[in-house]
């Protein structure tokens, strides 16, 4: 069952210098219980894509085209009370730098009770009990619900944020850089927790990160974004074992591999382009080692290289 289908989504921002095309025609499908990774460098539009799905764009941002089909409703058109009913009950988000997203002067338990009381017709006792269950689910002592955020360490606060995202038993959770500010050991704990929750609760997840290795460990599907577009998309195993797009190859090569030989990983020269005036043709061409004349003039379509494996590059051919 397809839970979320994004087609040709375009999200633009009005700025003083012109229209910034943060997300410029992306599409993907997500089924129940699937985890998709969205990878790319900072500024490639991955967070904007997430905020578009949640409809949490800042005032100068707007959805300029395409559709977001979530369980039969087009999220790009839903507004008002209807939208509020979907948000957090069906789709929730774990924000970037989540550890600092908690209200410092409110008890953590109360912060999680709030969305439950808002969305469901239950009394405070029931909600409190739910919070305690959630705490044990994410590995925090349920007795700590009356504590304040500063009494928790960074990793624990991240667990609180995960508990909060799960408060109304959503079907889809979006996690924006869920482990970026954490230590490796805590990161491993959180990733394991997210993986377990995903299988236990049959959650669909979109995990956003610039760190491919984090996504490699948690996701079934992987989409690589560059300058507002998805340049490659397939199952995670397929993307890693058989990368097609030069950008994907570059990203994979940029990782130091602790199990491999001791050598400095390659880097991708140059900087991501300005999205107000993106380069013509293939947006990656100014940084691409195999760029030819055609790349500068013509935008490559996203073609199906192998069943379920898409890439947008002039130099990939469909394989039978």
């Amino acid at each position: 069952m397809v839970l979320l289908e994004v087609t040709d989504l375009k999200t633009y921002f009005k700025t003083q210098e012109g229209t910034l095309k943060a997300v410029d025609g992306i599409g993907f499908k997500l089924e129940k219980g699937q985890a998709m990774g969205l990878a790319g460098e900072s500024g490639c539009g991955k967070t904007t894509a997430a905020l578009s799905i949640m409809k949490l764009l800042p005032a100068n941002g707007y959805i300029a085209g395409g559709s977001i089909n979530f369980m039969g409703q087009d999220m790009s058109k839903v507004t008002g009370d209807k939208l509020r009913a979907i948000r957090w009950r069906d789709i929730s988000i774990i924000f970037q730098g989540a550890m600092n997203a908690l209200n410092p002067v409110k008890r953590v338990g109360d912060q999680i009770i709030e969305p439950i009381l808002l969305h469901e017709n239950v009394d405070e006792e029931v909600a409190k009990k739910r919070v305690q269950e959630l705490f044990s689910l994410v590995g925090i002592n349920p007795n700590r619900i009356r504590e304040y955020p500063h009494e928790f360490s960074g990793g624990m606060r991240q667990r609180v944020m995960i508990a909060m995202a799960l408060a109304c038993r959503p079907k889809l959770v979006i996690a924006d850089e869920p482990t970026t500010a954490l230590d490796v050991m805590i990161q491993a704990q959180i990733l394991q927790l997210m993986k377990n929750l995903q299988t236990e609760l049959e959650l669909a997840m979109i995990i956003i990160s610039h760190d491919l290795s984090v996504l490699a460990e948690t996701c079934d599907l992987l989409s690589i974004m560059y300058a507002g577009k998805i340049v490659e998309r397939s199952s995670a195993v397929e993307v890693f074992s058989n990368p097609q797009h030069p950008y994907t190859k570059g990203l994979i090569a940029a990782f130091p591999n602790i199990k491999g030989d001791r050598k400095m990983p390659a880097s991708i020269a140059g900087n991501p382009p300005n999205l107000i005036r993106p380069p013509t043709g293939c947006r990656f061409s100014p940084r691409c080692y195999m760029a030819q004349e055609i790349c500068k003039n013509q935008e490559p379509p996203l073609i199906e290289v192998l069943p379920g494996h898409f890439a947008a590059c002039h130099f990939v051919q469909p394989k039978g």
Binding site: G155, A188, H210, A216, A254
Partner: protein, 368 residues
Amino acid sequence: MATNVIEVKNLQVWFPVRRGFIESLTSKEQRWVKAVDGISFQIKEREIFCLVGESGCGKTTTGKAILRLEEPTGGSVKYAGAGLTPALVKEAATEAVRKKVMKKDEAEKDVAKGAVEVRYLHKAKMKALRQKMQMIFQDPYESLNPKQSIYDIVAEPLVVNNLGANEAERETRVKKALDDAGLRPPKDFMWRFPHEVSGGQRQRVGIAGALVLDPAFLVADEPVSMLDVSIRSEILKLMLDLREKKGLTYLFITHDLGVAYVFSDRIGIMYLGKIVELGPTEEVIKGPRHPYTKALISVVPKPDPRMKTEKIILKGERPDPAHIPPGCRFHPRCPFAMEICRVKEPTPLFVSQEHWVSCWLESGEAKQ
């Protein structure tokens, strides 16, 4: 044999826990946060020594204590690199003896080696010496003043240290530093503000700010952890180039073993204020001996979903440095903790010429 630029011995940095009024009336003992609790290592000339550990293990405090940006409470830090003259070494040694903080024979040894004890250096002399010992900070988004142009940021150390006879000379030095840090051509970057350049370029500005004083020893505190993976190796390569060109020596501080693996010559693994394992990088990563090192290596995410390796995920988080457990301080989280670990602290044991580990498991083996 290359000389040791830095020699740290038994370094301690303790912070007092503030006592309330009532508590101060009771005879309760003063408690301390033991951020760094007796660590020793040397860094040879042109070497990259890496301290790895979770946040709060004291690695940054160690780096700062070496530069005396944090005052050490015990132990010694000796520096023997560029910027020292025989006269200065001698003066520092005599002064330390006169103040009765150093024994005479030790002071004589220092003079013979051409090393100064950083801890006892007079403030003004330390400030002068710090030109040769600089620091690169973690977050290029927060460590640069957003209201200053890149020129002003990089020129500031010159102004503070009263260097450069006039503006023109300063400008030449700033340009040179920017060029060395890979911001080329410098005049294109000089008058921009931090928000106008990318993350990688910002970190280069931070590096230029350290380079402008022409240092010999750099403490790099997580210089790439805030950067996108795709540009990390560019910054690391720049730092390697600078070592070749300028003969720099680095103390590299990171929590990322992957980066430490490709970049450093030797690694020290820190846990709660102590180094638990130290050795040549390849040896430590490929043949870790301490259970903590093994666990850390096992949780580094592999950039390949087909690589499924056994992970040793330690329960809980690091204990508080204000309440250090007795015995081996790692024992509450150690999957192999034995009786002795709870009572007695293990001592370093060499497992090869340059590789040592502090763990009772190893000592037990060695005894048999």
